[in-house]
């Protein structure tokens, strides 16, 4: 069991915060419930209250005893020893939404992300992120891109993310912003990774065995290129539509699971 890592929990943004807090409640439960120690990192956001709002939900509504907001705003903030010490004993981290490039440029390559990656790998820390925070979790991150339309080589900008998993590229606000073609573009450069498109108020709870469970009111779209036969990504003009054949697609709703290693999707159990 010690070979396992902690949970990785990307959320598609706009998760319900007032009425049915299903995703945040499940996250708090995974983190240890009342006894959880949650670090909220609001770096992606430009709004001062973002971190405090999540802290209020975790402490107030969900009864978590210890919550601290680590408001990294500049690279020099990585030197803050009090925050670093809290991260060293936290049971979970929550990254808010905003701009994923702000996360990468502010704490990428610092001891903060090193510690989060190491403790997650050693199964000491669960890590969730919503919207921009979700994109940042994996090795390959969609920095930005163009919504709608058809796949093209220049449709999406990839950048290195935090690197908790190398198996998937994560996209968010998925059906709300019509992002299938940008996720297909990202996946088609190299059909080694799967694509996970998260609708708003929907989360992928990626467990220590690389199995995803869907939680929330929307769906997760899984784009699996492992049987891809043909792709013109290398030959088409960068601004021209790209052909890709034999992509396998799953749309999964609450309770459904997807095993990233075996690439097998299982529908929700009958109630």
């Amino acid at each position: 069991m010690s070979e396992q890592r902690g949970f990785i929990i990307p959320i598609g943004g706009a998760e319900e915060k007032l009425r049915d807090q299903a995703i945040l409640r499940r996250f708090a439960k995974v983190a240890g419930g009342k006894h959880a120690r949650i670090a909220v990192i609001p770096t992606a956001s430009s709004l001062r209250e973002t971190g405090r709002n999540y802290a209020r939900i975790f402490e107030g509504d969900l009864g978590v005893r210890e919550v601290q907001v680590l408001a990294y705003e500049a690279r020099a903030d990585a030197a803050n020893d009090e925050w670093f010490s809290f991260l060293g004993k936290a049971s979970a981290v929550f990254f808010t939404g905003g701009n994923q490039l702000r996360l990468a440029t502010t704490i990428g390559g610092t001891r903060v992300t090193d510690l989060i990656r190491d403790r997650n790998r050693d199964d000491e820390l669960h890590v969730a992120g919503t919207s921009a925070g979700a994109s940042f979790l994996s090795e390959h991150m969609i920095a930005y891109g163009e919504d709608g339309g058809v796949p093209r080589a220049d449709k999406v900008q990839l950048a290195p993310g935090m690197g908790l998993t190398q198996l998937a590229i994560i996209d968010q606000h998925f059906v709300q912003r019509d992002r299938l073609s940008r996720l297909l573009s990202a996946i088609s450069y190299n059909p080694r990774l799967i694509g996970i498109g998260l609708d708003e108020d929907t989360a992928a709870f990626l467990d220590p065995n690389d199995c995803i469970e869907v939680v929330g009111s929307g769906a997760i779209t899984v784009v699996d290129p492992s049987e891809l036969e043909a792709s013109t990504m290398d030959s088409a003009h960068r601004a021209a539509p790209v052909t890709v054949t034999n992509i396998r697609l799953h749309v999964l709703t609450e309770g459904a699971t997807f095993d990233v290693r075996t690439r097998k999707a299982i529908p929700p159990p009958r109630r």
Copy 2:
């Protein structure tokens, strides 16, 4: 020692093939000299003779006994069992130049790249690539970009590569095509990785301890962002110049070394 991986050898393109074959000779030596078994993968190239030309150099000039050209041209070619079996007992692989996206779209995510990655990690296989082949070696690959000019968010297109190392982004034809600003752009998205810019006829022999030795007639430019203090990559308009401060730069010539883990550069020994 069994924890170590094999050599990873990116070459900046246009390596000397006729007179002083220093880089190819050194590669053949690392691969086992006469007793080497070298697989040449010419997939990046659109020219039929590319693979055969390298085979002729390795067999003819350099005296390697077993060389085979594995001409993967479509994804279905990954099913070729004879080629796969040769890869399973090869001591080294050589990727030719051409178009790195052709490599990624043709053999990315197939059993071919899985086997190469696994055997390199287990120290059973050394892997070299020139030009496009060099770009493909690492986890984060520059797919294409714009030469010259200043760093910008939209200057360079990253894609997942073969993933032999996650420590560096590799660029090639470096001073010949004025690529510092595109490498700086690639590194500035997330200052977790270092940038390695390879001049033509110049190679980085990355040993099992993540230490680079420079071989060849040009130089290697190492871009180390680990002390980066400020970056406007997240806030600047995508087509506008980006500010990055406190990048550390090394220009290293033959015999110089760079330790990727400690980030320490050592000049060539005095002769």
